[in-house]
C-alpha cells in the first residue's frame, strides 16, 4: 500500500507520559532527528519537580513539546497538532491545550480501569464519544513493544520500558525523520548492555514499521528543511549554551574558570556540564550551601580566576550579602540566576521573570550591579560571554538572568567562528601606581573607573580589601562622610558608564505607532506575535533589552518615539516599573505568571488590542 504524503510547513508535537516513561529522552531524540533533517525547531520540556510522582497520576505527568518548521521559528509553539499520550493522566493533563482536529496517539494498554479511575475518568474516553473533536489513533504501544521484543531475553517489565522507543519510531515514520542518529545514540547509551541496546533499537524500528504497515495511519507528513543562514548548526539547550559561554569566556579572558555552586533546579545542569570540562582548567566546586558557592567564587576571583556562581532565585536571595561584598571590593564575579517561579520554593520546574528587581536592588546599601539577560536558548552563550566581559573589564559582579524556559528549552544554534569571539582579557596589575611608588588599590582607571586587579603572588602590591568602606585611592578603612559619598557615587557611576550597545528597533516601515518591548526569554513569543500582526497588515515595532543595567543610552528616546509602548513580562510589571520611573513613559504592562512562557497567539491578541485602542 502506498501511503499518502502530505506537505506541512510546521508541526507541533507534544510527547506526554508518566515521569518514568522516558518522555524527555523521547523528545530529545526526536529533536535530534529533526535537527539533523534541517528543520528549524524550538522545544519546551515540562516536567514535575517530583522525581517520581505516584505512577499514573496527574502530578506525575511529564511532557516535551517540539515545534519544527520549514522556516525559521521563534517559539516551541502555542498548541500541539499532535499529542502522544502514554496514559490517561497524560491525556487528561494535556487535552485542554489541544485544538480541535488535532491528532491524539494514545497508548490503549494503559487505559485500564484502575488508571482511568486514578485521574477521575468514569469511562474510557477512547471508547466513548468524548474525544470526537479530535483524531484519535488508539495504539496498544506497550503490548506491541512487548510482542516486538519476544525474541529477546528480557523480563516483561524491561520490555515494556522500551515503549517510548516504539512511540519514537512511530512518530519518526509519521514525520519522515532520519533514524540513523537514534540507532547510533542507543548503541552508545547502552554500550555496556548490548542486549538492551538491541532491544531498544528493535522497539524503535518496530514502531517505524508499525506506522508503515498499519491502517491506523493512512497519511504521513513531510516538513521540508528550513532555509536558515549558512553555517554549521547544532541543537542546544539554554543551560548547555550558558555553560559553553562560560567556558568560552574563560578562554577569551585567559582566566581559569572557578565555579562555586550548590545544586538547585533549574540551574544544576550548568554545574553538571562545567564539571565535565576539567581539561579547560575549570574548577567546579560543589559547595555546602549557596553562600559558600558565591563566597568561594569570590575568593577565587581575588586570586585571579573568573569566578562564577550558578543558582536560581532562592539561591540569589542567600548570596545577596556576598554579592554586596563583591560590589564594594570591586572584584569580577558572574552570578547566574536561572529564574523559576517564586516566591520561596514556588514552582521549581516552572519559569518566571520575577527576579529582575531582586537582581537590581536585592542588597543592602547602594549596591549597583550590571544585569544581562539572554533572549533565547542559544543566546545564553553570547550573554554569558558578555556578562564575563563586563565583569572583568569593570571589576564588578554581574547578574546573568536566564530562566527555566531558556534553561531547558532548545533550538538550533549556528556555531560561532572561534576567531569571531571577542577578546575579553584584561591585564592584572603588576606595578605600583602611586606617585611615591606605593600601590593604591582604589586608584581607578580614568575611563572605566575600574580599580586595579592585583592578585596574590604579585610582589610589592600586597594590599587589603574588605567590606568596610575604603578610602578613595589608598583603600584604607575610612569612615569619612565625604569619602563615603564619593565612593557611593563613584561605584554607581562606574556601573552607569558601562559600554552597552544601543537598542535596535525592528520597525520595517518606520511608521508604527505601537512599540512592543521585552527582555529575556519573552523574545521568541513577542517576535512571533509581531510577525502575526504584520502578516495581517498591522503595524507594530519591536525592541528587546539584553542589558537591564545599565540600560542602553537610547532607551528613553526609543520609548518616547512611539505613541504607545507595550511591555509583556512574566511577572507583575517589574521592568515596567523601572521604565516608567526612569523615563516617565506610560508603559502598558501585560503580565501573566503561570509558570509558562507566553503564547504567540495570546500576545498577538494583546498587541492588536493596544493598536486598536484609542
Amino acid at each position: 500500500m502506498t501511503k499518502q504524503v502530505q506537505q506541512l510547513d510546521r508541526v507541533i508535537i507534544r510527547f506526554a507520559g508518566d515521569s518514568g516513561d522516558g518522555m524527555q529522552l523521547t523528545g530529545d531524540r526526536f529533536t535530534a532527528g529533526t535537527a539533523e533533517f534541517g528543520n528549524d525547531l524550538s522545544t519546551l520540556p515540562n516536567f514535575p519537580a517530583e522525581i517520581r510522582a505516584p505512577a499514573g497520576t496527574l502530578p506525575g505527568v511529564s511532557s516535551f513539546q517540539l515545534h519544527f518548521a520549514d522556516h525559521d521559528i521563534l517559539t516551541p509553539g502555542d498548541a500541539p497538532n499532535v499529542l502522544v499520550a502514554m496514559n490517561p493522566a497524560a491525556l487528561k493533563a494535556n487535552l485542554g491545550d489541544l485544538p480541535r482536529g488535532a491528532d491524539i496517539i494514545a497508548n490503549t494498554d494503559e487505559f485500564t480501569k484502575r488508571n482511568l479511575q486514578k485521574v477521575g475518568y468514569a469511562a474510557n474516553p477512547l471508547e466513548d464519544e468524548s474525544l470526537s473533536e479530535w483524531r484519535v489513533h488508539a495504539v496498544p504501544l506497550t503490548s506491541l513493544t512487548v510482542k516486538a521484543l519476544e525474541d529477546f531475553d528480557l523480563s516483561k517489565k524491561d520490555a515494556e520500558r522500551s515503549k517510548n522507543m516504539f512511540a519514537l519510531g512511530l512518530l519518526s515514520w509519521l514525520y519522515h525523520r532520519p533514524t540513523e542518529q537514534t540507532v547510533k545514540f542507543l548503541e552508545q547509551k547502552f554500550a555496556k548492555k548490548p542486549d538492551l541496546a538491541k532491544a531498544n533499537i528493535a522497539a524503535f524500528q518496530a514502531g517505524w514499521n508499525y506506522g508503515e504497515t498499519t491502517e491506523s495511519f493512512s497519511v504521513s507528513y513531510e516538513v521540508k528543511p528550513a532555509r536558515l543562514a549558512p553555517g554549521v548548526y547544532r541543537n542546544i539547550s539554554g543551560n548547555q549554551a550558558l555553560a559553553y559561554g562560560l567556558i568560552a569566556a574563560s578562554v577569551q579572558s585567559k582566566l581559569p574558570l572557578f565555579l562555586g555552586s550548590y545544586p538547585i533546579t533549574p540551574a544544576s545542569d550548568i554545574l553538571h556540564e562545567l564539571s565535565k570540562h576539567k581539561r579547560f582548567g575549570i574548577r567546579t566546586f560543589q559547595a555546602e550551601d549557596e553562600i559558600a558557592g558565591v563566597g568561594a567564587a569570590l575568593g577565587a576571583a581575588f586570586g585571579g580566576a573568573l569566578g562564577v556562581t550558578t543558582t536560581s532565585g532562592p539561591g540569589v536571595a542567600l548570596k545577596a550579602e556576598t554579592v554586596g561584598l563583591a560590589v564594594t571590593t570591586e572584584l569580577p564575579l558572574i552570578v547566574v540566576d536561572v529564574q523559576r517561579a517564586g516566591p520561596s520554593t514556588g514552582m521549581p520546574t516552572k519559569t518566571e521573570q520575577t527576579d529582575l528587581l531582586m537582581a537590581l536592588f536585592g542588597r543592602n546599601g547602594e549596591s549597583p550591579v550590571p544585569v544581562v539577560a539572554p533572549m533565547s536558548p542559544s543566546d545564553c552563550f553570547d550573554a554569558a560571554v558578555e556578562a564575563a566581559r563586563i565583569a572583568v573589564k569593570y571589576r564588578t559582579p554581574v547578574m546573568l538572568l536566564s530562566d527555566g524556559y531558556l534553561a531547558n528549552g532548545s533550538e538550533p544554534w549556528r556555531l560561532p567562528e572561534i576567531s569571531d569571539l571577542p577578546d575579553i582579557s584584561q591585564e592584572f596589575t603588576t606595578e605600583p601606581n602611586g606617585a611615591d611608588g606605593e600601590f593604591l588599590p582604589f586608584k581607578r582607571d580614568t575611563e572605566t573607573l575600574a580599580r586595579p586587579w592585583a592578585i596574590p603572588g604579585t610582589p610589592g602590591l600586597e594590599h587589603r580589601i574588605g567590606g568596610i568602606e575604603k578610602a578613595d585611592g589608598t583603600g584604607n578603612i575610612s569612615y569619612d562622610p565625604n569619602n563615603h559619598d564619593l565612593m557611593v557615587r563613584t561605584r554607581a557611576a562606574k556601573i552607569a558608564g558601562i559600554d552597552v550597545p544601543d537598542l535596535e528597533v525592528d520597525d520595517p516601515d518606520g511608521d508604527a505607532k505601537v512599540l512592543v518591548i521585552g527582555w529575556g526569554s519573552t523574545y521568541g513569543p513577542i517576535a512571533a506575535a509581531v510577525r502575526r500582526i504584520r502578516r495581517s497588515g498591522g503595524k507594530v515595532a519591536q525592541t528587546h533589552l539584553r542589558h537591564l543595567n545599565p540600560l542602553p543610552a537610547n532607551t528613553g528616546d526609543v520609548l518616547k518615539r512611539y505613541d504607545k509602548v507595550l511591555l509583556p513580562e512574566i511577572n507583575l510589571g517589574q521592568l515596567a516599573l523601572l521604565l516608567r520611573a526612569r523615563f516617565l513613559v506610560d508603559v502598558i504592562s501585560y503580565n501573566r505568571v503561570r509558570g509558562l512562557p507566553f503564547k504567540a497567539e495570546e500576545l498577538a491578541g494583546v498587541i492588536q488590542d493596544v493598536i486598536d485602542s484609542d
Partner: protein, 348 residues
Amino acid sequence: MTELVNGKGLSLIPKTDVKQGMKDFKSDQEVRWCPGCGDYAILAAVQSFLPDLGLKRENIVFVSGIGCSSRFPYYLNTYGFHSIHGRAPAIATGLAASRPDLSVWVITGDGDALSIGGNHLIHALRRNVNLNILLFNNRIYGLTKGQYSPTSEVGKITKSTPMGSLDKPFNPISLAIGAEASFVARTIDSDRKHLQSVLREATEHRGTSLVEIYQNCNIFNDNAFEQLKDPEVRDDITLRLEHGQPITSASKAVVRGANGGIEVVARDGVSEDEILVHDAHNPDPSVAFALSRLDEPAFEHVPIGIFRQVDRPAYDVLMAEQLEEAVAQKGPGDLGELLLGGDTWRIG
C-alpha cells in the same frame, strides 16, 4: 607511635632568599583593638613568626570574617581580605583551592566561626582545604558589645541573657575532630612560645589546620582563662600535649580509664608506664576526641597543644590532580572542538 609521611608541607609555596623581619609584616595601619586585648599578643606572635617561614610575603593571604579578631588582616603587610560575617572559610576555600601556591590563613572568632559561619567551618575541615584557621576564642561577642557566644558557659549573664544563657556551648576541638579535621590544636594568647610552635606546625601541615587560641577579652569577659595564666595553678591544670610524650601537668597525669575512656589522676599515684603517651598522628580520632573532653565541665584540667595531626590529601592538590588527569586523558581543552562536539549539521 604513628609517623607522618606527608612531605608536601610548604613545598608548593614559593620561598624567598631575602631575609625578612617582623617589620616587613607590619602594615602601616594603626592597630585599633581595646588596650589590653589578647589580640595584640597574637598579632605580635604572628608578625614575628611569619619571617621565619621564609615564604614570599606576596604569597601569603589572610582572610577574615567579622568580629574584633577579623580586623587582623589590616595589620599585616600581606595580601588580605576582610570579608563578611562567618564566610571567611568559604572565601578562603575558593582562593586556596584555585591557588595551591598560596599560604592562606583564616582569622576568625568564636561567634564568626562557630555561630554564623559554623557550616563553612565544618565543611572546610572535612574537605581538608589548605588553610590555617586561627580561631580566637574569647567566649563572648566583643564587637557587638557583650552578648554571649557559642562557647560561653551555660548560665552566662550578658546583655542579651540577663537571667543567664541557656544553650550548651560548643567545644571547638571536639567539633573540629568530629568534622574530620586533619590538624587540631589549642594554644593561648599569653604563651607566645607555645603559640608560635603550634602555628609553625599548623603552617607546615598541608590541609586544614584548626588552631583554637584562648584569647582574653578584657572588656566583656575578662580573665576567662585566668586559671591557665595564674602562676599559682596553671602548671597543675595545663596538660601538655606533645607527640610521643606522656600527657601530664605538674601534678596530674592522663591514664586509660574504665569503660575504654581516659581519665585524669594524681601524677604521683601512677607509675610512668601507666601514663598515656600522646599519639597526635593516630589515624583513629577517638583518643584525640577523648582528650578534647577533659576540660569539661570547666577548666579543672585543660589540654594544650596539638590534639591531632594526620596525613590526608589536601583538597587543592586533589582538585589540581583531577585537572591534570583530564588533560592527560583527552588533551587540553579546545573551544572549537567543544562547540562541534554534539550532533552537528551544515547548511549552505
